[in-house]
């Protein structure tokens, strides 16, 4: 895909539609085609912004220009002058004040829009994953050679630390720091684990890398092993990923034949071996300590922390656990240096992020974009707008353990820092986009049902809290909730977050918190008016204790 230079949004609220928004849209489409700009400009409709008596609006990103009361006759002039020649048509421009709905212009973005920038997915979908030479042609194993021949372990983890790479599994812990912790431990044995469990529903970015570019993971794990002084590694792949396991196995064998894995890597005497461990499909085993227990042959239950895996991990030895996407960044950082990596993304969260887009949008799939892109841009540029002219209402990030993001946050830059400040989390990179037909109570109910089912049951807050929260939500969805339920949900959310042993319970409370913070009116409608505004919940009035 070519870099998108400009994003055009046409308002499609009822008033705009009455005043010919559809015609404006189709004329724009034709004019853009006529000028041959279709590859540089993305065009879509939004329904959450309008301005009284000046509809329909045409908004031009990233120039921060709004044209008001646009008629199809104005379009040729606007396209020719503004989009083709780059001059703002001042007579049609209106002030951004008194708009209904919220839009935000990112001033840092002026003049450019984030283009897809593939680091993690550089080779995916281009090379033959079952042929090692294909990877070597594309600079494969160069970083490993450089590290083993020219750098000390300390230099290696310092480069990663300086690059500012943060873990892409969801928590965003600085990778270089994690390596440094493990490198600092003086023990006889250390391990490197690649967390490829990817059990978050709706996330499939790791599978893409494992299936499309398995050698990148082998190279990165070997670099990590050298940096921390480990000699054995595990790739924990979920059992459902049959193709990924076969391709990974093949890749390991090929790397061994070339002497890029084994007892004498690159002829330097450095030894590192990788084993594949297939997971049995439990959600909890994506949590790093549960994953470690699972490799050890125990029940997949999280451990109490501290001690963290960096001091006492697999078989109580210091262990690095990194996500697939995190690892896939490593070879490129070593090859190009930390400064290059820092030039991508935002200052607080450098690099790119892979997102899987799904839900009520026109194009689903995978994108890799610099950190700091906004949801509005993702939906308009990469997902090509909402399906069937729907309105964007809610996004669910990161599989289940993310946040429920309301439309009012769609202009917030998507990086760890900005999302933290807004009180939401980025999760593992799934973006489930929902339109006006999604009921937030139903959405939260589905999520809590999932957590209730997947809770390992080790700690009480998670085992009982999820069940209780699910019951309360089911009651509300059946129209027999009361106002005390809102208080209960808030309390359960706090207790899940504060008291649970591991990430599963801690994030299980966030959907509850998010729907109360951003969609309280909708939840209250279920309780006070006995109405589900989206028409999803059964509201049958008879709630029975559900036993499964």
């Amino acid at each position: 895909m070519k870099a998108i230079r400009s994003m055009i949004l046409v308002s499609s609220d009822p008033e705009s539609m009455d005043h010919g928004a559809l015609e404006v849209f189709s004329t724009l489409q034709k004019q853009i085609l006529a000028h041959g700009l279709e590859e540089e400009i993305s065009l879509s409709m939004i329904s959450d912004v309008s301005k009284k008596s000046q509809n329909p609006l045409v908004l031009v990103y990233p120039d921060a220009v709004i044209y008001g009361s646009v008629t199809p006759e104005d379009i040729p002039h606007i396209v020719e002058e503004h989009l083709y020649k780059g001059r703002v048509v001042e007579e049609k421009q209106i002030s951004p004040y008194d708009l209904s709905g919220r839009i935000a212009w990112l001033t840092a973005r002026k003049g450019t829009l984030p283009a897809e920038n593939r680091i993690v997915l550089k080779n995916v979908g281009l090379i033959d994953p079952e042929i090692i030479d294909d990877y070597i042609i594309n600079e494969g194993y160069e970083a490993l050679g450089k590290v083993l021949k020219e750098m000390t372990p300390k230099e290696t983890y310092t480069v990663i630390k300086e690059s500012g790479l943060q873990g892409r599994g969801g928590a965003g812990f600085p990778t270089g720091l994690k390596w440094q912790f493990v490198a600092g431990e003086k023990r006889d044995k250390k391990y490197v684990i690649c967390n490829a469990d990817e059990s978050e529903p709706g996330t499939f970015k790791d599978r893409l890398v494992l299936e499309g570019d398995p050698h990148a993971i082998i190279e990165a794990m070997t670099i990590a092993a050298y940096a921390v002084g480990a000699d054995e590694g595990f790739v924990y792949i979920r059992g459902e990923y049959g193709l990924a396991i076969t391709r990974m196995q093949k890749a390991i064998e090929q790397a061994q034949e070339y002497g890029l894995l084994g007892d004498n890597i690159f002829g330097t005497g450095f030894a590192f071996n990788i084993h594949i461990h297939a997971g049995a499909g439990a959600y909890i085993c994506g949590e790093e300590t549960a994953l470690i227990e699972s490799i050890e042959g125990n029940r997949g239950e999280p451990r109490a922390r501290p001690p963290y895996p960096t001091t006492a991990g697999l078989w109580q030895k210091p262990t690095v656990v990194n996500n697939v996407e995190t690892l896939a960044n490593i070879p490129a950082i070593i090859r190009n240096g930390p400064e290059w990596y820092k030039s991508i993304g935002t200052p607080s969260s450098p690099g790119t992020k892979v997102y899987t887009i799904l839900g009520n949008v026109n194009v689903t799939g995978l994108i890799e974009v610099p950190m700091g892109i906004t949801l509005r841009e993702v939906i308009s540029i990469y997902a090509k707008g909402m399906k069937d002219g729907g309105t964007f209402k809610v996004a669910q990030t990161g599989g289940s353990s993310g946040s429920i993001i309301p439309a009012s946050l769609q202009d917030t830059p998507m990086d760890f820092d900005s999302y933290n400040k807004a009180g939401v989390s980025l999760g593992s990179g799934a973006l489930l986009i929902g339109n006006q037909d999604v009921c937030v109570v139903d959405l939260a109910k589905v999520l809590l049902n999932f957590f209730r089912f997947e809770s390992c049951g080790k700690c009480n807050p998670c085992r009982i809290g999820n069940k209780r929260a699910f019951d309360v939500l089911s009651r509300i969805a059946e129209g027999v909730g009361n106002l005390q339920d809102l208080v209960d949900l808030q309390m359960l959310s706090n207790q899940l977050f504060e008291l649970s042993n591991c990430g599963l319970g801690q994030t299980a409370g966030s959907p509850l918190k998010d729907i109360l913070a951003h969609f309280q009116a909708e939840v209250e409608a279920h309780i006070k008016l006995k109405v589900c505004p989206a028409g999803v919940c059964p509201m049958s009035g008879n709630w029975e204790h559900q036993i499964d």
């Binding site: 895909m1 070519k2 279709e38 590859e39 997915l121 995916v124 979908g125 281009l126 090379i127 033959d128 994953p129 079952e130 030479d133 294909d134 070597i136 042609i137 194993y141 160069e142 050679g145 450089k146 021949k149 499939f204 599978r207 893409l208 299936e211 499309g212 570019d213 990923y241 193709l243 990924a244 034949e257 070339y258 002497g259 890029l260 004498n264 690159f266 002829g267 026109n362 194009v363 689903t364 799939g365 995978l366 994108i367 890799e368």
Partner: protein, 122 residues
């Protein structure tokens, strides 16, 4: 296969592989690349691949390399087939079923005419 002992060894392997690739490209052979990730396979990439191979056999075509790759990320368009006629840019086709695959081989690969209605547009 010899083992790699230094960066120079790696470079040698890389150059040899590159040379092989260039020979392939300059030999006038056409590459047909099928996206064979889980998404592609679920959408029917195996049937598409089978149809491609059968068509090549039935029409008795030579100088065509069929190879697989992972999933490029355009899940809505799977199965994806890319055709690279030597010396020209890759053309990507989306939602390719066996019948379409046959047509792509017959019209694009043999006669050199791009079927624009099947193409994925940015």
């Amino acid at each position: 296969m010899s083992t790699i002992k230094s960066l120079d060894d790696l470079k040698k392997i890389r150059e040899e592989a590159l040379k092989k690739q260039q020979i392939k490209e300059s030999s006038g052979k056409t590459e047909v690349i099928v996206g064979m990730g889980t998404v592609g396979i679920a959408a029917g990439a195996r049937e598409t691949l089978k149809a491609i191979l059968e068509t090549i056999e039935k029409e008795n075509l030579s100088d065509i390399i069929v190879r697989q790759t992972g999933n490029i990320g355009l899940d809505s368009y799977e199965p994806i087939v890319q055709v690279a006629v030597s010396g020209k840019d890759k053309v990507s086709y989306g939602k390719v079923n066996p019948e379409m695959a046959q047509r792509i081989i017959k019209e694009h690969v043999v006669e050199g005419e791009i079927i624009s209605e099947y193409q994925i547009k940015g």
